[in-house]
Amino acid sequence: MIHIRIGEEGFDPAALLEPLERLGGGAVASFTGIVRGGGGLVSMRLDHYPAMTERRIAHIVEEARARWPLLGVTVVHRVGDLQPEDRIVFVGTASIHRAAALESCAFLIDWLKSSAPFWKKESFLDGRSQWVEARAEDDAARDRWMKS
């Protein structure tokens, strides 16, 4: 089971976990990313490259399935306007092995952070807004998967 969704709508982790739980694997891992408030952040805009995004994510999911014995993978990424506390990304994996579920979940979120064509713009209370700068540690998190 592969489920990939990019869109402006919110999502419910419970509804995304349930199909993964029903695959009979016994091990389901998930990661949910949420917009963090603080620093006067009032909203965030997520741009993406629609023609490339789903294709790129599908490719990353195939890579994960080649590395780990996975029964199911769900990747959901919101785009558009978001507020603090909004869920922005969800990765869920199901396997018969807990290590496969957990590691592939970490692998996928590292790739999404470093290698999927999304761009965040933050807007602050004082009217300022700025594009988020890429972080070297996200590239490093992705690159650690290349060693093994």
Binding site: G33, A51, V89, K113, P117, W119
Partner: protein, 86 residues
């Protein structure tokens, strides 16, 4: 005449003031960097967007590639900052 669709994202799009445009394909051996050079004279927004090449990334027909990559037969070039998803 072959054409090339160019797409701009994030602050590249904002500086240039448009989502993208279609240009005459400069030929298979021209690199992305060559194409960028040829776009700069189009206006101050271009010059701003392309001022610091180290902050610029590219995708050719939906694959990330270095700016030194020849355009080949690609139909779509995207120019944007390093990605910041998730």
């Amino acid at each position: 005449m072959a054409t090339l669709d160019i797409l701009y994202f994030a602050w590249v799009r904002e500086a240039i003031g448009r989502d993208g445009e279609t240009v005459e394909h400069p030929g298979a051996e021209a690199t992305i960097a060559d194409l960028i050079d040829s776009l700069v004279p189009r206006g101050p927004g271009y010059a701003e967007a392309f001022a610091d090449r180290s902050r610029l990334r590219a995708a050719l027909d939906h694959a990330f590639v270095p700016l030194e990559t020849p355009l080949g037969n690609a139909h779509e070039l995207a120019l944007f900052p390093p990605v910041t998803g998730g």
